[in-house]
């Protein structure tokens, strides 16, 4: 392991350790969001690490880091702010229009995000919980290629949640629509005939997800979630679609919680790159993702 990787591991460990002593909502799943609001005056600090791995050929690994602070403005309304960082290590892979070639980014600030959520119905009190969320995301690095790209996204989400068996079994349903404006910076010395459009583009992404979480012992939950994502882009129409599904293990206690999720891509379609040896969509997605979240309530 090189020094850079060792440094990143140490940083992650420090962040997690800090989380235990200083730093909670509670995410039973890696990707799905619940519909229960933080109470007024409560705060929550999250550290999320997502590993995006594999594009069937060459080597590709991106790691996304997100530090988020959420505050309960009222018993139904919360707001959040996130700082995002990333690393990327890819080699032996060239995707026309998307990935010019090898890239190795150690650890870089990559974006910021503002979010808010309003709970219309409480899952524990009204039987079925219902929450709407809105987030504004600005990124200056393209998470797929690692090259400079200004991206402004607005996402509107709807979350439902229902408790069964007095809360031992939890069902979530999510849907969301994300609109994105993206503008890539020019790159010098591109490979001959490589397509790298620098005209601004608009994209619309639809997201649907559902999952079940079961508390198999006090403090411990095991969950499974299924996600469907599809994106429509200027001049292309439906650019891609993917199905993901995977398990999560969650531990929650009075002050902190953590969730570990594995999410492989099960099926995908739309644009593909020359040379990929599966039917998945691997231009903007990867074969699998791992996500670890740790959070502290205060």
């Amino acid at each position: 392991m090189n020094k850079k990787r060792l440094g990143l591991c140490a940083l992650g460990l420090c962040a997690a350790t800090l989380s235990q002593h200083s730093i909670a909502g509670e995410d039973l799943f890696g990707y799905l969001k619940g519909a229960e609001a933080l109470p007024e005056g409560a705060s929550e600090l999250y550290q999320k690490v997502t590993v995006r791995d594999g594009k069937s050929v060459g080597s590709y690994q991106g790691i996304d880091f997100e530090t988020e602070y959420e505050y309960g403005v009222s018993n139904k309304f919360s707001s959040s702010v996130s700082a995002k960082f990333m690393s990327l290590d890819t080699d032996g892979l060239s995707i026309d229009g998307y990935l010019p070639g090898a890239k190795d980014i150690g650890f870089k600030a990559s974006g910021v995000e503002l979010g808010m959520a309003y709970m219309f119905l409480s899952p524990a009190k009204d039987d079925l919980g219902l929450q709407a969320s809105l987030s504004l995301d600005y990124d200056w690095i393209d998470k797929h290629s690692g090259y400079d790209k200004d991206t402004l996204s607005l996402e509107l989400g709807l979350q439902t949640q229902k408790y069964f068996m007095e809360g031992e079994l939890v069902w979530l349903g999510n849907m969301g629509v994300e609109t994105t404006y993206a503008d890539r910076a020019p790159i010098d010395n591109l490979p001959e005939d490589f397509d790298w459009p620098t005209d601004p583009e608009m994209e619309i992404e639809l997201k649907f997800g559902t999952g079940l979480s079961y508390r198999f012992a006090p403090n411990w939950f095991v969950s499974a979630e299924v996600l469907y994502e599809t994106e429509f882009e200027t001049e292309v129409g439906q650019e891609r679609w993917s199905w993901f599904a995977g398990p999560s293990l969650h531990y929650g206690s009075a002050n902190w919680w953590a969730t570990l999720t594995w999410l492989p891509q099960l099926a995908g379609g739309g644009e593909q790159f020359d040379g990929q040896d599966t039917d998945l969509h691997l231009i903007e997605k990867t074969e699998q993702e791992w996500r670890f979240k740790i959070a502290y309530n205060f």
Binding site: V51, G54, F292
Partner: protein
């Protein structure tokens, strides 16, 4: 999985910290809760009750909430040989761990009071406040047992509040089905 992903799996070392056991938060023992709820009682006669599947079904049918435990700790409370009421210890599901509480029920099937023996949740420590627990006093199966109607909700601890409310209704149902004839 690629070699580089394996090396990065060190990111998940924090799970070792996560696996550390939680600190228990037990506030009252059973004798302490008995003394608080029945200060003038002279004897607590333990008569633990074992429910078979038929009894559990009957409780669920009447209370609307399932009876998870076969064994329900119950004490007959007397003063100078006279029945004062019933003392029951129960567990309900909190967000993370079980909430253990005790309820005092009169011979006529009314709640005299509740005490929280252990509570370990992120939010809602107010369930231990006397002012919140006082909302249970006098409740009987004639009451609707609705959150924010019978007892106020505590934000951030809605599941705990609902399960405690449902739990007390279930204990009153147990009293009606199995204890009232002894009163």
């Amino acid at each position: 999985m690629s070699d580089s992903l394996l090396s990065n799996s060190l990111w998940f070392i924090p799970m070792a910290f996560v696996a550390a056991p939680a600190v228990a938060a037990d506030y009252l023992s059973i004798p302490q809760a008995q003394q608080l709820l029945f200060p003038s009682a002279s004897s607590f006669i333990e008569r633990p009750t074992l429910f078979d599947s038929g009894a559990r079904s009957a409780i669920k049918s009447h209370a609307g909430t399932r009876q998870r435990q076969d064994h329900q700790p119950i004490w007959r409370v007397e003063k100078d040989g006279q029945l004062q009421g019933w003392f029951m210890v129960d567990d309900v599901i909190g967000k993370h761990e079980y909430i253990t509480y005790a309820a005092a029920i009169t011979a006529d099937g009314e709640v005299m009071g509740i005490e929280v023996l252990s509570y370990r949740e992120t939010h809602g420590a107010e369930v231990r406040d006397e002012s919140w627990r006082a909302n249970f006093k006098g409740k009987s199966l004639k009451d609707p047992f609705k959150l924010d109607e019978d007892v106020p909700n505590i934000s951030g601890a809605t599941l705990s509040c609902r399960n405690l409310l449902d739990g007390v209704k279930r204990l009153l149902t147990i009293h009606e089905l199995f204890l009232a004839r002894e009163s």
